[in-house]
Amino acid sequence: MSEEQAGKPLPAAVAAAWERVERARHPQRPYPMDLIGRIFTDFSEIHGDRRFGDDEAVACGMARLAMPGGTTQEVLVIGIRKGGTTKEKVRRNFGMPNPEGYRKALRSMKLAEKFNRPVIAIIDVTAAYPGIGAEERGQGEAIARNLLEMSRLKVPTISVITGEGGSGGALGLAVADRVLILESAVYSVIPPEGAAAIMWRDAGQKQFAAAALRITAPEVADLGCVDGIVPEPAGGIYTDPEAGAIVLGDTIRRHLAELQAMPLDQLIATRRNKFRNLAQFYTETPPQPRQTSPEEASSRV
């Protein structure tokens, strides 16, 4: 998009990474609520965080999921609402939740826990909203609280990143037993535009930032930061949302059946251990040499 790069072609890897970002943000891509409508039945929304207000960028509701064998599972579903038309987008704050959204989600999850219903979150979020009100009402605290509470929620939890997995805004709904990502979705610590502006000091470098941050589904899976990739129809889920939703629905059912087969203690211990041990990218020098040289040890104090 940047003018100076229009002339020279991008390196292949950079172009490929950027194409993934554009796919993840494709305007025809089914939003979480489209997918929820196709996968679940009887969605009944519940509103409000009981603290300040109701965030229209986050939808929470009771829903039913048809399971293999003809049974029906009651579930609590959380979906980000990006909005389709411009008017709708403004109403939904472009799918960028305020603290109320995270608090509503937590209240809903606690409700699900009380009545022993699994939680399924469908996530497509650019970022948690960076605004004055969001700061005043504790955006950081709201996300932090969700991370802590989700890690010990006493019901099975599945989170699926279906488009943009935008940093803390996504993670605040994604401390789950299974974290899945659609094939052409992205999961990142910062949007490529932001990274380019901060680290390259030039927002025009966003394609390079997208490639360097390794945000595509296969790369994130290689880093061990998600539990599985959900395949999309050839050409992307927006070419055939129905087929994509069927695959996603079946994947959710399979994971849910596995999780429901686990005793509760084991479920929570497994979740804890997963988050404790993932993303370990460090080398460790054994502590012995340091102890043998007290001078060095004391000089560090």
Binding site: I132, G140, V189, C225, R271, F275, R276
Partner: protein, 288 residues
Amino acid sequence: MSWFKRENADLTSAPAPEGEDAERRVRTDGLWVKCLGCRQAIWKADLEANLNVCPKCGYHFGMDAQERVASLLEPGYELVDQGLRSTDPLNFTDIKPYKLRLEQGRRQTGLDDAILNAVGDLGPIPVVLSVMEYAFAGGSMGAVVGETIARAVDRSLAGRKPLIIVTASGGARMQEGIVSLLQMAKISSGLAQMDDKRIPYICVLTHPTYGGVTASFAMLGDLNVAEPGALIGFAGPRVIEQTIRQKLPEGFQRSEFLLEKGFLDAVMSRKELKQYLIRALEFMQVPA
């Protein structure tokens, strides 16, 4: 309209002396510090004796991780969990390779990453202390910071010792991408276990504390205490200004602002901090 006019151009400093003269020049550099709060000159030794707080106006200068540990724990504490180094999981380069930035951080701070763990006594109480080092890559949290804090949590859980984390961080470390984001979940799930077992955790927020650190362990203490005037927030001021296209109000995201909004339990000057922590931990000691 000003009372005086400068007739000549701006003053220029004397040319730097060359050769032997250079050694004869009186070096005042580093003896005096100009206070960023009251703009007065402070003798550096006075400042250091006063825990890096301006003796005139109470402005809190930064404090490195090792000074911080020494300021809180009794002599005889032990530095632990050292020797962890990032493997640069993304093999990241922006305008400079990440590996070079890491080396630079190590040289400047003498630490392996932006974190220092210690075990020792806070007053009479044995504690685990984890202190972030802002001078190392802006205190940002990557795999090493995440793991080191997680080990502090493990130590607290294993020994049923209170945990104190002192934050100073720009947030998640961009150069480690998604790896750094997930450190937030790693630490928060450990803190959930501490909460389940009723082991005290107090977070001390210092200037600045932002992003993924605010949105995880910095806001999850049984008590969250901040130093005066520290900037604390989720999104940085520039990001907010660019989003809403307005100037931010005076004092926005300062400790006192967060206290007013209900997100801090106390704003404590550095001199009173230790006593406050001891007092709080005495309150939190659960009879076994």
